[in-house]
């Protein structure tokens, strides 16, 4: 079954196609949830709801070539995760609470490519909610701080400072990980 066929059959509520879609894309979508939510159990709940939403709204998907299904699925899942975070409404409250972090020297020699993906995922998941959301949107969704600001209802400045702190914290975690080896 091609991408297009899967999407089409899913609009017809074909159970086999649904299962295929889940098998092919489920892992990546779950990873997205984990990246945004942090906590595994909660991420799984959001994933569960997201998949159901995907099957309900797959009729709106328009096939635009290879990869378009994955892009669409990711988008729905990111929105599901963001919706959840918005409800939780944690990210906004954090910025003023956190004390100034010490400037961690980011050494450019450090090659993150040697760190296992699972570890990187863990580090991102462990970031505080607000940092993590901005970090995800900026790095993975490639949104500008302006866009993030309007998306999350925060100021542009807040977005960029949260991103900066997320980066610093992440580098700290990476350095700690290297030391622990």
């Amino acid at each position: 079954m091609t991408e297009e066929e899967i999407a089409l059959k899913c609009t017809e509520a074909d159970p086999y196609a649904r299962k295929r879609l889940y098998e092919i894309y489920g892992g990546q979508l779950l990873a997205i949830c984990l990246r945004y939510i942090g906590d595994r159990d909660t991420a799984q709940d959001v994933f569960h709801d997201g998949i159901i939403k995907i099957f309900q709204s797959i009729g709106q998907f328009k096939f635009l070539g290879d990869g378009s299904l994955k892009a669409w699925l990711s988008r729905v899942m990111v929105n599901e995760a963001l919706g959840f975070l918005r409800k939780k409404n944690l990210q906004m409250q954090q910025e003023t609470l956190v004390e100034q972090l010490p400037d961690t020297q980011i050494d450019d020699d450090g090659d993150v490519n040697t760190i296992p993906k699972k570890e990187l995922m863990r580090m991102i998941s462990e970031l505080p909610d607000g940092y993590r959301t901005v970090f995800n949107l900026f790095v993975f969704e490639e949104k500008s701080h302006k866009e993030i600001a309007s998306l999350l209802g925060i100021s542009e400045h807040t977005s960029s400072s949260q991103y900066f702190r997320a980066k610093t914290l992440l580098m700290k975690k990476i350095n700690e990980y290297r030391k622990s080896l």
Partner: protein, 428 residues
């Protein structure tokens, strides 16, 4: 944006972007069981509208069958009826089958779920079977979020994509392209949000109609013209009656014939269209129609009637989008029109033995209301954000207006119909 991002961040992104988490055992069964069966509705609705359109066609053809029993139309209508009667039935049959499958599937997976109960790790969660309404609500919210999100993806950084390609991340470039495509879609969606469109149109039955039969006839029975020749002996009769009676008299014993020609009606109009949402729209407006018919009746001596009727009408149509993209929009529409004859004249020429003897102009006093029903499909091409052109072929049925006026609408009440027009978007 590039300046703000260091290489190590990009590395993280590249490594993790396609990262896949192992799926927990038994989660699919749980999700499958939780998919509400209401999910079938969107597809079914699509079929519903197709079925509804088919039913409408059958309905209109049946009506025409009643009101018009000329052989040609009987055949045509029968064919349409047979064709259409088959289609909706198939659709309806397929539906219960589908939902049956789903029910089975759900109960199956329910069993499996029970069987695997020990493996389900998230014990604190309750399985909630969301009521259909809630689900729809959630859905709407999600859609809003999707479009919001699309909208936010504005800047696609080409430099970044190139860098990615070097890093064997071709997929990324595609993401960028897709994002742009989605953006285009979302912008287009915004365009559709402009609720009101103003339009001008023209069009009607695309052909004229002629008809010949033996015997004498008139286009309209005017009060003054009484076709009963016995009245000729009475004293007080108008010139017109006298002339007509003379023609009848001259043709006694001769083979007479009548030739009626209804010219192509001319309709122009202005319309307003409200886009209720992505799929549905309502259109109304003001139309002017000009009907011109000629009749020649008699033999050597004959009369010629030239009938001109002016109608002003108000149409009301409901459009349903079947398929669309940024340039084209396919839709089906169903509606009706009420028209009022505002003015009418008959010019009559009397000729005896081939020589025009007299002619006269009369106003038609009867100003009937004309009702009609219309079903059509349309295609609209958008030139730009503000202007689009549309073409709507369809079928119209004109109900009998209970007058003696003979028009193309009485001659062929069930007819094909075409419309061509422009639509202008009026703001947001």
């Amino acid at each position: 944006m590039k300046d703000n991002r260091e290489k190590w961040i990009d590395d993280i992104r590249n490594r993790i972007e396609d990262y896949s988490e192992p799926l927990p055992v038994g989660l699919w069964e749980k999700i499958e069981a939780d998919i509400p069966s209401a999910k079938v509705i969107p597809l079914w609705r699509r079929w519903q509208s197709v079925a509804a359109a088919a039913v409408a066609v059958v309905g209109v053809s049946t009506l025409s069958l009643w009101y018009w029993s000329s052989d040609k139309y009987v055949n045509q209508a029968n064919n349409a009826e047979i064709l259409n009667a088959v289609k909706p039935a198939t659709v309806i049959d397929a539906q219960p089958l589908m939902s049956d499958n789903i029910e089975n599937e759900i109960s199956d997976s329910g069993n499996r779920l029970a069987y695997n109960a020990t493996e389900v790790t998230t014990d604190s969660r309750t399985i909630d079977f969301a009521p259909v309404n809630d689900v729809i609500l959630m859905n709407t919210v999600a859609e809003e979020e999707v479009s919001e999100n699309n909208y936010a993806v504005t800047e696609v950084d080409d430099d970044r994509s190139k860098e990615k390609r070097i890093n064997m991340m071709k997929a990324d470039r595609e993401t960028a392209k897709r994002n742009a495509a989605y953006l285009a879609m979302s912008v287009e969606k915004d365009n559709k949000d402009s609720k009101i469109q103003f339009g001008v149109m023209t069009g009607n039955i695309p052909y004229s109609s002629s008809n010949s039969f033996s015997g004498m006839s008139r286009l309209s029975t005017l009060k003054k013209v009484n076709s009963n020749p016995n009245n000729a002996v009475a004293g007080e009769i108008s010139d017109a009656t006298a002339s007509y009676t003379q023609v009848l008299f001259n043709n006694i014993g001769k083979e007479t014939y009548t030739d009626v020609k209804h010219h192509i009606p001319v309709t122009v109009g202005a319309s307003l269209k409200w886009n209720l949402n992505d799929k549905w729209a309502v259109e109304t407006g003001l139309n002017y129609t000009y009907l011109y018919s000629e009749l020649k009746s008699g033999a050597q001596s004959y009369i010629e009637d030239r009938q001109k009727l002016h109608y002003v009408g108000i149409p009301l149509k409901v459009h349903r989008t079947i398929w669309d993209n940024s340039t084209f929009n396919f839709y089906a529409s169903l509606g009706g029109m009420i028209e009022k004859c505002v003015s009418g004249t008959v010019e009559t020429v009397y000729a005896e033995e081939g020589n025009v003897k007299s002619s006269e102009n009369e106003k038609i006093d009867e100003k009937p209301l004309q009702f009609s029903a219309l079903a059509s499909v349309g295609i609209q091409a958008n030139f730009n954000k503000w202007l689009s052109i549309y073409f709507e072929p369809g079928m119209a049925y004109y109900f009998d207006d209970n007058t003696e006026l003979l028009t193309i609408r009485k001659d062929k009440p069930f007819n094909f119909n075409m419309q061509l027009g422009l639509r202008f978007n009026l703001g947001k």
